[in-house]
Amino acid sequence: MTSTVLEFRGVTKRFGTLVANNSISLSLAEGEVLALLGENGAGKTTLMNILFGHYQADEGEILVGGNRLPPGSTQAALDAGIGMVHQHFTLAGNLSVLENILLGTESLFSIRQQTGAARKKLARLAEDYGLAVDTDALVGSLSVGERQRVEILKALYRDVRILILDEPTAVLTPQEADNLFATLKSMTRQGLSVIFISHKLHEILAVSDRVAVLRRGEIAGEIETAKADRHKLAEMMVGRTVTRPKLTAMEPGDAVLEIKDLSAGKTGAEGLKKVNLTIHAHEIVGIAGVAGNGQRTLADVLSGLQGSFSGSVALNGGALPAGDPRAIVASGVGRIPEDRHARGVVGEMQLWENLIAEDIRSQDVSRGGLIIDRGRATDRANRQIEAFDVRCEGPDAETKLLSGGNMQKLILARALSREPSFILANQPVRGLDEGAIAYVQEQLLEARKRGAAILLISEDLDELMALSDRIAVISHGRLSEALPTSARTTAEIGLMMAGQPVAGEAA
């Protein structure tokens, strides 16, 4: 058995009454890939934040190579040879790759940066691990995959012995993810140890030696990867058999949304180029793609945030009232935004206020579009809160106090209550726990059954494969034909996400 390089001993962290980590004990061996599996909110990120000194544990300690790690110090963790690649990259787009890597590696008070030596070392690392990047490029000009390479180089440049990767594949195409796994293998061959945080079971099975499962802040179990399978891991993670809702076959109805030759936005990857798509009643169409390839522009056009485009978007035979969110909502569109906090709700306002946001000038909740009709707004809010099972203290509660799942239910309540004929669901389950994910997906399927046409944009291929009748792939603003889900394989979709044409697909 190889030696233990890192050990958590009885680490406990509380936030008020919430116990984020409860007496966690865990060890990592040299040259090992340990997968840390758990749902959103299980405490994975908190544990890593404790390791990195962002939080201090209330109880317990962490040993690195047998020595106690001083708590509350990022510098101590770095000095002990621990590196971390965060899920949200910690890079500055306006600075060069070299500057991003050099930060913090030299004494702050040295009189000059040693860029020459740094370049040499980086060239060597890039060669050793197959991580080529242009060191003088601005990080802002790099692709997501390249940025992740910069993040890994940043850690390697510091000669880390332990590398932690937090949800590293969330933004990668399947092929890019495979490259990453290859890099990880070459690292462990050279004696590095890796902690791989994820909630994607197939990745964990592919890349790890051992799996530790976190559930509600506790270690729910540890298992050799060789002895694990998907089913077992899922059960350990959620604590019961997972039943995500499934798609039942259904005959599509009339065309509800028809997009023809839609071009919009900037000329870069985010701009749309001649997009064509038709979605029918009783149908969910999924859009796969790496973030930043035009999904946002498409969602902005359909939700009314962007009014200038060429081509046509028709809804139920009529033109979509472009650039006017309220008119779009009134004409029968339900919108679930990508980011609940930034777009979905106003956290400082009360629940009932958020529930009337989309139709505040309508006769339902205002008098003449000028004065808010508090009574009717509250009545309606009560009904919607009940119908969508939003757990809260009542319609007067402050919205920011809701949990992520309940906040998403609030948004569903607002978007789906009026039974829209078309639903734009942009990353509807991102960051939710298993229970809330199941709820949101059930609601979407319920709407499909009722006859709604649904556009589902997601970065999670598994989710798309499970929920979509048809799948299209977006890359550099170009949308592929939407083919029945059964006619596509994950590998094909991955290649298309990377912008490569697939045999049989019109370019």
Binding site: T90, L91, A92, L103, G104, T105
Partner: protein
């Protein structure tokens, strides 16, 4: 028009331009340092006032001139610390804090001035910095007289520009400051304390601002008047935007503005009979607004400007 061209050729005009530019250079560099670290410092107007008062008062109470400059910088840095405590450590609104610091620092300056000199009707004077001619260079016609026969504080201002540039772009500390203004999480992830970096930047920047104020009472004039900063701090904030947060263009901007002001003083004498003097006085303010409009679409803001950072929080 002929008059104006003649003015542009005189050494006196250029000497005045360089002198008037000096406080703007200090103030703009100070604001630039703060904003590069991600903190908008609207306390600048008050900090320049308190610097003007502190430096002057030090000398008036019998201290040396350079001691006064150091004292002013230290007082400025203390107000910077106050600003950083509010905006960096407590994450409070940078706009409102800055305005509060300006109100507090300037009224405190006036209060202390009145307290120490309760009955002075005409502002008492000090012996300000003398011009120092740089041997050799100052003998060059026109240019020598304009550039190389200035107050030592002016030389300091001009030397500060490449010094600040070097620190920001060529040292690890400068990299950390710039990164703190772009992505503070990245700074923290590399084991550097963002709060310390930002606090230090705001303190140093505020020190620069205060020296800018001190220049006005200790080198340009020889006494402290009420309202003598007169919006120069706000002009510096505009100049930072005009310069796209770079020291070199900040220097250029300060000289252009100072040139305008020097020109208007002289133009008043030639065309003052036809155009009211208030028009000339309003020029720098109007030009500042125009400068901001010109640069508005082109500049790259520090990405984390105005964004507070809390440890352990994801951005």
């Amino acid at each position: 028009m002929g008059d104006i061209f003649e003015i542009l050729l005189t050494a006196g005009f250029w000497a005045a331009t360089i002198r008037i530019a000096s406080p703007l250079i200090f103030g703009t560099l100070g604001e630039l340092i703060c904003e590069r670290a991600g903190v908008l410092n609207l306390g600048i107007e008050g900090i320049m006032t308190v610097g003007a008062m502190a430096g002057w008062m030090w000398v008036y109470q019998g201290g040396g001139l350079w001691g006064g400059v150091v004292f002013a910088a230290m007082v400025g840095a203390m107000f910077g610390l106050l600003h950083a405590g509010f905006t960096v450590h407590m994450g409070l609104s940078q706009h409102v804090t800055g305005i509060g610091i300006t109100l507090f620092a300037s009224s405190l300056s006036y209060f202390i001035y009145r307290m120490l000199l309760p009955s002075a009707t005409t502002p008492p004077k000090i012996e300000p910095f003398d011009e120092v001619a740089i041997p050799g260079l100052s003998d060059i016609p026109v240019i020598g007289e304009a550039l190389f026969n200035q107050s030592p504080l002016t030389y300091l201002a001009f030397v500060s520009v490449p010094a600040v540039w070097y620190v920001l772009y060529r040292t690890p500390l400068g990299l950390a400051v710039r990164m703190a203004g772009e992505n503070p999480v990245a700074v923290e992830a590399q084991g550097i304390n963002v709060l310390s970096i930002r606090t230090a930047a705001v303190m140093v920047g505020s020190g620069f601002m205060a020296i800018g104020g001190a220049f006005i009472t200790m080198s340009w004039f020889d006494a402290f008047y009420f309202g003598m900063i007169n919006g120069r701090g706000w002009i510096c904030v505009a100049l930072v935007i005009f310069a796209s947060w770079r020291p070199g263009p900040a220097l250029a901007g300060a000289i252009i503005f100072a040139g305008l002001e020097a020109l208007q003083v002289r133009a008043q004498q030639s065309v003052g009979a036809f155009i009211p003097y208030q028009f000339f006085l309003a020029l720098p303010y109007v030009m500042s607004i125009i400068a901001m409009i010109i640069m508005a679409r082109r500049t790259k803001y520090p990405q984390a400007l105005l964004v507070p950072f809390r440890r352990g929080e994801r951005v």
